[in-house]
Symmetry: C2
C-alpha cells in the first residue's frame, strides 16, 4: 500500500464546503424519523425513512431510486449508470433503520431530535448508519463537480436496507430475489468505523451474529420459597445456569463445537493488530468500562475483532420490585448473542444453541428458543486491488497513512459477498466514542466531511485502477 | 402421645357454631386492609390493620390491647390475665402484615376484596396470617363459654407483628425492649400449616431466612456487544455466574461453610418424615411444578423441612423488551434467599454471602450486597409436655391422630425462644394448597373452624397439665 498520501483535490474540497450546510440539514431531517426496526409500533416510521431516502437520492441525481418491499421493513435501491461501457459497477451498502432509544436510558437530548454540540451531531442513527449512508449524496455530487462529469465514473448502485438492527432477517432473500439488478463488481459497505480521528483505517472484516431469546417456564405461578424452594426447579436459577455455563473459567465459550471451524489469526495478522496504537486505559473509557475481561490467550483487539464471543444481552425472572419477595418464580428469560468469525456457520451455531439448551435444562422446566436472525461473518482479501483504491481515497481525504482494522460488530456483508459473488470492501469514518447502540450516539461532523471527500475521490480512483 | 383422640366438647362446638358468621365477617373486614409491609406506599394500611386488630381484641374481652410502635410497622400486643395465681402464661404469636399481591399476577378476584367460593375464602392474608391470628378471638370466647369462666384458664398474651413478610427487621429489638411485658411460660406460634385436611399435624420447627439483593454495575451505560462484547465484564453474565454458582451439580449450596453448623436429622426423625403419606405427584400439583429437584441424598420432605437451601427470587439485567438488542448491559440485580436450619447462624451466613460475592465478582464490576433481614431457625423439643397439650387439643377438634411435621418457611419463632427463654410451640390449620405468597391465596373455612376449636380446648388443657 502507499505510504505517502496523495494530495487532496481543490475542486472536491470546494464542492464539499459549499454543500456541507445543506447536507447537515438533510441529515438532521432524516434523523428525526425514528426508524426503529425492532419495535413493531415504529414500522410506519421505518417506511417513512425509506420514502425520505428515495426522495433525497432522486434529488441528488440518481435516475433510479425506489423502495423495495420485503416481508419486513422496506429497503431502498438506487442506480446511477456511468455511461462508460468499461466502467466497473460498485454497490454501496448501508441501512436506514436504527437501534431502539429511550431518553430515560441516559440521553442528554431527545434521541430523535438531533442536536449539534461542539462539532458533533447527537441523535440515534447519526453514526449508525444514517450519517454514513447520506455522505454518499454529497460525495457523488463532489465527484461530478470535480471531474466535470454528468454521471459517475463507475456504475453506482445503492442498497440501503431497513432491518439491519434486527439482524437483517429478509435481506438475504431480497438479495437472491433481486440479484440481477444488484449485479456489481464490488460491494462497498458504508456501515463501519475507523481506529480514531488520528489513525484513519480501513476495515477488512466483520463478525457474524446469532442472537436469540430463551424462555424458561417452571411452576405455573410464583410459589413460596419456604414451602417449596429447594425441592423443585427454579427457572431463574436455570436461566442463570445457562448464562453462566456459556463460558468456562478461561472465558472461552463452552457451546459444543463453537470453535471447530474458526479461522485462526495468522502471525502476520496478529502483528498488524499489535502495531496499532492501542491504549487500554483510553479504550476502556470508550467502553465506559473499568477492566478488560475476555478469552484467555488473546489481546483485547483480538477478542473484539477476530474471536467469537457469547454475550448476555438481557436476563430477567421473578421479583424485580423494592425489597425482597421469597418466591420461586414461574418463569425467566435470557437474551443471548453470539458473535462469529470467518469459518463459522450461523446455522451450525443455532443448532448448537438448541442442543445445548435442551441438554442443559432439567426435568420440570419447559424451555423455548427463539432466534431473531443470523448474520454471517465476513473477511476481505487483504491484497485485493479495489482495497488499494479505498485506501488511496481515504489517504487523500485525511492526509494520513491508512491502516487496517476489523469490525467487531455484524452486518450483512457476508451475504452480499456470497449472493453477489464479489469482494466486499468497507468505508467508515465513525470513531469508537460515537456510541453505537448506546445513549447519546453522535457523529463527529469533521470526520463525516472526510467521508464525503473519500467517496468523492473513490469513484474516479476505482474507474482508473480497477482493471489496471 | 395419645393415639385415641379425646371426644369433642358440645359446649365448645355450640359456641363456635353460634359465633362463626360474625367471625367470618370480621375476618373479611380485616382482609380488606392491604397491609403489605414490603411496600412503602402501604405503610398507612399496615397501621390501619394494627388499629383494626386492637379494636377487635378489645371487643373480644382483652383488658389490654394496644399498638406497639417500632421504627418500622407497628405491632399489636394484648393481655388477658387468668386471675388464677398458678396459671401458666402463654404468648400467642402471629402477624398482621401480608405479602404483596397484584391482581395481574393471576388472581381470579381482587386480592384485597375477600371472596367466598366453595367453602373457601380467597384473599391475600386469608391463611398467612390473618385467618390464623383471628381464630383466637372466637377460640377464647368458646373456651370461656364452655368452662363458665370470665377470664382464660391461662394468662393469655398476644403479640402480632407488622413486618413478618419483610423479614421482621425490628421484631427482635421489640422483644428485647418489651421482654418484661411479654414474659411467659411458652410461645404458641399461630402462623404455620398442617399436612392435609385428612392428616392433622403439629409443626415442630421452622427454617430461618437470610435474604438479600446483590446489585452489579459494569459499564457506565449499555454498550455495543459487537464493539466491546467479549473484552469487558458483563454484569448480567456475572449475576448469572453468582446465581448459578450457588449450587453444585448435586444441587448442594456452595456457599463456603454453609453446612458446617447444620444439625443433621436423626434416623428417628427421618423415619417420622417417611411415615407421612407423602405422594410426590400430588405434592407437585400443590407446588404447581412438574418435577422434583433438590439436594442429592435427601427426600423432598427433608429438602423442604430440614435442609438449608439457596433460592433465586429474582434476577434482572439488560434488555427486557421485544426482540433483541445487542448490548453489554450497564447493570444487573439478583434477589437471593437462604433458608436455614437448626444450628445455622444468620450473621455467619450473611458474612459468608458478603465474602462469596466479593470473591466471585471480577475486576471491573462493582457490587453491593443489601440484606433485607434475617430470621433464625427454630426447633421445638419433641418431648415437651406443652406439646402434648397442643396435640390433645387438635385431636379433640379434628377427631384424628395428630402427627408431626416441620415448616419450610420462616418466622421469628427463634427470636421468641431466645429472647423470652421459653419453648416455642406451633398451631396452624392451613393446608399446602392455600397458596401462601402466591396468587389466589385462600383459607378452607371448615379447617379455620377446627383452629377455633383447638384454641378453645388448648387453654384448659394447658392449665390442667402444664405442671402436672
Amino acid at each position: 500500500m502507499s505510504t505517502i498520501p496523495a494530495a487532496p483535490d481543490d475542486a472536491v474540497r470546494a464542492c464539499v464546503d459549499d454543500g456541507r450546510a445543506a447536507f447537515l440539514d438533510d441529515l438532521a431531517e432524516w434523523l428525526r424519523i425514528p426508524s426503529v426496526s425492532a419495535d413493531p409500533d415504529r414500522s410506519a416510521d421505518v417506511r417513512r425513512s425509506a420514502e425520505w431516502l428515495v426522495a433525497k437520492l432522486t434529488a441528488t441525481g440518481f435516475p433510479v431510486a425506489e423502495i423495495w418491499d420485503t416481508p419486513g421493513a422496506p429497503a431502498v435501491f438506487a442506480d446511477w449508470p456511468s455511461g462508460d461501457p468499461d466502467a466497473p459497477t460498485v454497490l454501496v451498502y448501508g441501512h436506514h433503520d436504527v437501534q431502539p432509544a429511550d431518553r430515560a436510558d441516559g440521553w442528554h437530548s431527545d434521541p430523535f431530535v438531533p442536536e449539534e454540540r461542539e462539532g458533533r451531531l447527537y441523535a440515534r442513527g447519526a453514526a449508525d448508519d444514517k450519517g454514513q449512508v447520506l455522505f454518499h449524496t454529497l460525495g457523488v455530487r463532489a465527484h461530478l463537480a470535480a471531474t466535470g462529469r454528468t454521471s459517475p465514473a463507475v456504475n453506482l448502485k445503492l442498497i440501503v436496507e431497513g432491518e439491519e438492527e434486527s439482524g437483517s432477517p429478509h435481506f438475504s432473500a431480497l438479495l437472491r430475489e433481486r440479484a440481477e439488478r444488484l449485479a456489481c463488481d464490488a460491494v462497498l459497505v458504508s456501515d463501519t468505523g475507523m481506529w480514531s480521528r488520528e489513525v484513519p483505517t480501513v476495515c477488512t472484516g466483520m463478525r457474524g451474529l446469532v442472537d436469540c431469546q430463551i424462555d424458561l417456564y417452571g411452576p405455573d405461578q410464583d410459589i413460596h420459597s419456604g414451602s417449596f424452594g429447594g425441592a423443585v426447579p427454579n427457572p431463574a436459577t436455570e436461566a442463570a445456569r445457562l448464562a453462566a455455563g456459556l463460558h468456562d473459567e478461561a472465558r472461552r465459550v463452552t457451546l459444543p463445537g463453537f470453535y471447530d471451524d474458526v479461522v485462526e489469526l495468522t502471525p502476520h495478522e496478529r502483528e498488524l493488530f499489535a502495531e496499532l496504537p492501542f491504549d487500554e486505559e483510553s479504550w476502556l473509557r470508550t467502553a465506559h468500562s473499568y477492566a478488560p475481561l475476555g478469552e484467555a490467550g488473546h489481546t483485547t483487539l483480538e477478542r473484539i475483532w477476530a474471536r467469537p464471543t457469547a454475550e448476555v444481552n438481557g436476563i430477567s425472572g421473578g421479583y424485580q420490585g423494592p425489597g425482597g419477595k421469597t418466591i420461586v418464580p414461574a418463569s425467566a428469560q435470557l437474551k443471548l448473542s453470539f458473535r462469529l468469525v470467518a469459518g463459522q456457520d450461523t446455522e451450525k451455531v443455532q443448532q448448537a444453541v438448541r442442543e445445548w439448551a435442551a441438554h442443559s435444562v432439567p426435568d420440570g422446566i419447559r424451555h423455548e428458543v427463539t432466534f431473531w436472525g443470523a448474520t454471517r461473518p465476513c473477511l476481505t482479501p487483504l491484497g485485493h486491488p479495489a482495497l488499494r483504491s479505498v485506501v488511496r481515497s481515504m489517504e487523500r481525504a485525511f492526509g494520513r497513512k491508512v491502516r487496517f482494522t476489523r469490525e467487531g460488530g455484524s452486518g450483512p456483508a457476508a451475504d452480499l459477498q456470497d449472493v453477489l459473488g464479489v469482494p466486499v470492501l468497507f468505508l467508515g469514518v465513525s470513531v469508537p466514542s460515537d456510541g453505537w447502540h448506546a445513549p447519546n450516539e453522535k457523529v463527529e461532523l469533521d470526520l463525516l466531511t472526510k467521508g464525503v471527500e473519500t467517496a468523492a475521490y473513490l469513484w474516479g480512483d476505482l474507474a482508473e485502477h480497477w482493471r489496471a
